[in-house]
Each structure stands twice: as structure tokens, then as C-alpha cells.
Amino acid sequence: MTRFVIRRLAYMAVIMVIASIIVFVSLRITPGDSTNFVITPVSSPERFEELRRELGLDRPLLEQYAKFVGRLMAGDLGKSDISHREVIEIVASGLPYTVALALAAAVLVYGLGIPLGVTAALRRNRWPDQLVTGLAVVGLGIPNFVLAILLIMIFGITLMILPVSGAAGFQNLILPAVVLAVEPLAITIRVVRSAVLDQLGQDYVRTLAAKGLTRGRIIWLHVLRNSLGPVISLAAVQFRSLLGYTLIVEVIFRWPGLGTQLVDAVLKRDYVVAQVLALLLTLVVIVVNTFADIAYAFADPKVRVRVASA
């Protein structure tokens, strides 16, 4: 087991280094007027050489790379060519919005997913179950940006009750959070339903009833507690896909989070911002993935055995 953890951490480090090298190289060869990492056009060849020395561009690539990593870790993420804002400031401005969106979606996914999943399990094969399961199937079938447009049309334009862009107030959070939550919600409902059904067939439930406990306590305290295992493993897995979704949803609703910043930067050919941001997000994803994998291996005894024997 420890070997697995060490191996995954090692891979994580390796991939992070590779990602940073890729970004470093592409920043060096990118066209554009970046004064941060690449030299600007200068008046004379002598001045060129001077600047080269000043900026350290005549040093071996390895040294430049080391400096690059050093600067990143010190928090100096460079400056945008176009707006001349510090990248780190761009990150700071976008991060809270992205986090808020993700949290709102999480609240929806678990706040709705768990009760609905339990209800579907309790009323198995009757109409509440069929309704909930049917909705889950639909939720999985529609790509989220199509759903987003659909909702924009209904709520934003036809009914005019919800705002569809920007982040002026709390209502702006509703539609993006809903769109983001739909697919993970559908999956969570199915997982919870199946886990609860599993538990309901266990012996201890019968004992609890024989003790005279109320149905509510049996379900919502005991059964639910025992059902959460698979849900937690699922959460770890869902975390990974979340990032990709968040990007698109942010852009559609013009929600000023990191996703919008990234896509805007790419579209405007603001290479420094685009690539440094992308690198940051990549690093976050890699770290999260690794820990999710490790957590998953711990939580699921079947996986643990397989992994240990690998």
C-alpha cells in the first residue's frame, strides 16, 4: 500500500515537472512581445547582447528553467502583455469566483443528491423512484453547454426571472451552479440509491427495527452513515471532471472566475497569462487527481487489494 502511495507521488512530481517544462518551452518560443521571458526587439545588435546577458538568456537552458521555476514558486507569475496586470493578481481576482461556483454546485449535488437518492431507494420502483431515476438519465444525456443555453432561454429570456451573465449578485450564481451540478447530481443520485438499497437488505436494519427505533432514525442515521462510503469515493472521482466543466460553464455565463480568465487570455493571444494560468490549473489538477486516487484506494477495499498485489 505504501508502495502505491509513493509511486503515485513520484508520478505526480514527474508530471508536474514535465508540465512546467512544456509551458516553459512554449513560453520561450511563443511569438509576441513578451518582455517577461523573451527579449524585446531592440535598437542594435550590441544592445541585444546586453539585454540577453541582463535577462540571463545567454545562460544554459537548464539554468533558465531553474530560474523560471524559482520565480513561480516565489509567487512571481509574470505580467500580462496586454493588460499589464500581474498574473498573480488575475489569479487572485478570479479564484474566489471559481471557488464560489464550485461550492454552490457541490451544495446542490450533495444537498439534493443524497435526499433524492435515499427517497428513490425507499420508494423503489414506484413513481418517485422512476421520476428521480428518469431525471438522472436525462441529466446525463445532455451536454452541459446545451443545457446551459436551454436554461438561459427559458429562465433568462422567456421568463426573465434569472440573470444570465456576470456576477452582480447572488442570483447570478444560480443558473451556472445548476448547470454545473446536473451531471454529478445525476450520478450521485444513482450511487446513493444503489448504496442505500444495498444497506436496506442488511441484517442490522432488522435488528434496529426490532429495537423499536423509528423509521426515520434507522434510515437517516444508520443506513445513511453506512451508505456514504461509495459516495465519498465517487466524490473523489468527480472532482477531476469538475474542472473541465467549470471552465465551460464560467464562459457561457460570463462568470468572472479562473475559467473565463483562461479562455479570454487564449482568445486574445495573451500568451503569458494563458500559459501560466493553464500551468497553475494543471498543477492543481494533478495534485488533486493524485490525492483522489490515493483516497479512493484507501476507501475501496477491493481496489486496495488489487493495488497491493500489483
Binding site: D203, Y204, T207, G212, L213, R217, R225
Partner: protein, 342 residues
Amino acid sequence: MTTLGAVDAALVSDSPPTPLLEVRGLTTVVDGDGWSAAAVDDVSFSIGRGQIIGVVGESGSGKSLTALSILGLVAPPIAVTGGSILFEGRELVGLREREMRRIRGAEISMIFQEPTTSMDAAFTIGDQLVETIRAHRPVDRRGAEALATQMLDRVGIASAARRLRAYPHEFSGGMRQRVMIAMALLLHPKLLLADEPTTALDVTTQAQILELIGELRTDLGLSVLLISHDLGVVLDIADRVVVMYAGRVVEETPSASVAGSPSHPYTQGLLASKLSLRHRDRPVTVIDGQVPSLRHRPPACRFEPRCPNRLPKCGESEPELADVPGAERLLRCYNPSPWIEP
């Protein structure tokens, strides 16, 4: 607690006991896909205060379902469709769920076969014991823990107070069953339904658990419905034995009579089989054939296909459960033969 038990014991020996539990004509039906059958078919018996009644039968006889029916723990597609269950004169069949809940765990308790899976593995036994108490009485947590510790002690769990913090999987099988018993008796119920409590345990532990149940009966004035497929277990501590086959009661008699002179061919078969295990040099005696499934029961006497005593009329009509004159016994058989010790 002990004085109360002594008083009840006195009651038992003096007057004809008013039955604590009276089951009359209980019928529990299982609904399948396009068919239905009575897994418990017109079953009657009664339990007096401080009595241990043993119910014996192979799996499929309906004995577990009888106990579950008493507590109303059956859910569709299984349902109690007929008969009456009087507990202290109160009708339990059709009782509102809320009332039933008050009885479960407090007046009538049940313990099950598998102590391992019968407890919630995610909570400590202390939590589960306290939960039981507080579901029925307004006791604060500390008071409940004290009661729990006392009961754990009573059933033979060492260092009871410390063990409250332990999880079910930290106990051995026998200890777990003791915990289950403690949990069932926390609120001093008058009746304990024990569904195969020793089946999952090894022989030594079996004896200990049975001894414990016997003690508790004496000390607490507890009545017990002991269900087992093992005649030996039942004969060990039960006062009377009810023999069930394919949903029907086929014999009812004091356990001394069963051990000495069983009447029904099925009971005789069970006893012979049990006794034959003692002789290692001879093949084990078995009853030929199998218990009929719910859907395919013989139309007349249900034991007829396997019965060594069968007569033509056994295949034509089912015998009634009748009093045997001159003996304290109920028997459902056209052709019993006297018992010959093998």
C-alpha cells in the same frame, strides 16, 4: 430486579398462569409473482410468564416468520393475514405502527442468528445500547450508559464500562451475542424472541449462551420464545416444545415428553437424527426427502411424502391438531407410533 423475578417465579408455581402471549390461528402469507402461500399457516400456541417455549423445525418451517410476525416486522410481499396475537390481553395484529414501536425493544425484544451482521458496524456498542434505552425512556446519556454498563456486566462482558467504546467487530462471536442479549433486555421486556441465537456459534459458546438465557429467565422472570432447528438446543432449556413443519404446528408438548416419548413421526425423526450423532460408528439417521417449498406443498398432510408411518388417508386429508387424551400434548397425525429409542 431479582426480587421481582422471585415474585414472578412464585406466581408461576402457584396458579394457572395467565398467558403472557397467546397466538391463535396466526397466518402469514407470502405474495409471489402470481402466487401466494401461507408460510405460517394457522399457528397457535401460548407462552406463560417465566416460561421458555421452544419452536423446532427445519428451515422453511415458518418458525422465524412466526417470531417476526409477532413483532410486526414483516413487510410486503409478506403480510400477516389472519389470526390473533394477544400480548397481556392486547391484540397485536393490526396494531398501529407507532404503538408497535413502543412494544418493540421494551416489552417484547428479539435477537437474531448472526450477531456479526446484526449490529451496525459503524457505531460503538455503547452508542447502540444507549440508543435503545433513549428510544423508549427519557433518560440522559450518562444514566443510559450506566444502565447499559450494568446490563453488559450482567450478561458476562468483562470491563463493561470500557467496552462501551468498542465497536462490534472488536468482539468475538459469543461476546457479540451476549451484547445482543444485553441490548434486547435493557428495558426489561417481558418476552424475548430468540431466533436461532446459537446456530452461528461454536458448541462451547452455545452452551454458555443457553445457560445465560436460562439464568436470565430465573432472575428477571423473562419469558422466552426460543427458535431453533436443533432439537438438542431446545430440549436443553425449554419448558415446552412446539414442533413446526411447513408452516403448521404438528406437535406441542412439554420438553420432557419430547425427550422421552415424541409422538409425531417428524419429531421422532428429528430426535432420532440428533441421537444418532452420538454414535460415531453408525451412519447418521436422516429423514428422507426435503421440506416442501412454499409453492409446492402436499395437498393433505404436509409430511406425508416423507413419513414412515403414512397411510392412504394421510394423502387424502390433512389431520387436525388435536389434544391427545391422557397426555399434555397436541398432535397433528393420523398414525403416530410409540417411540423406540434407537
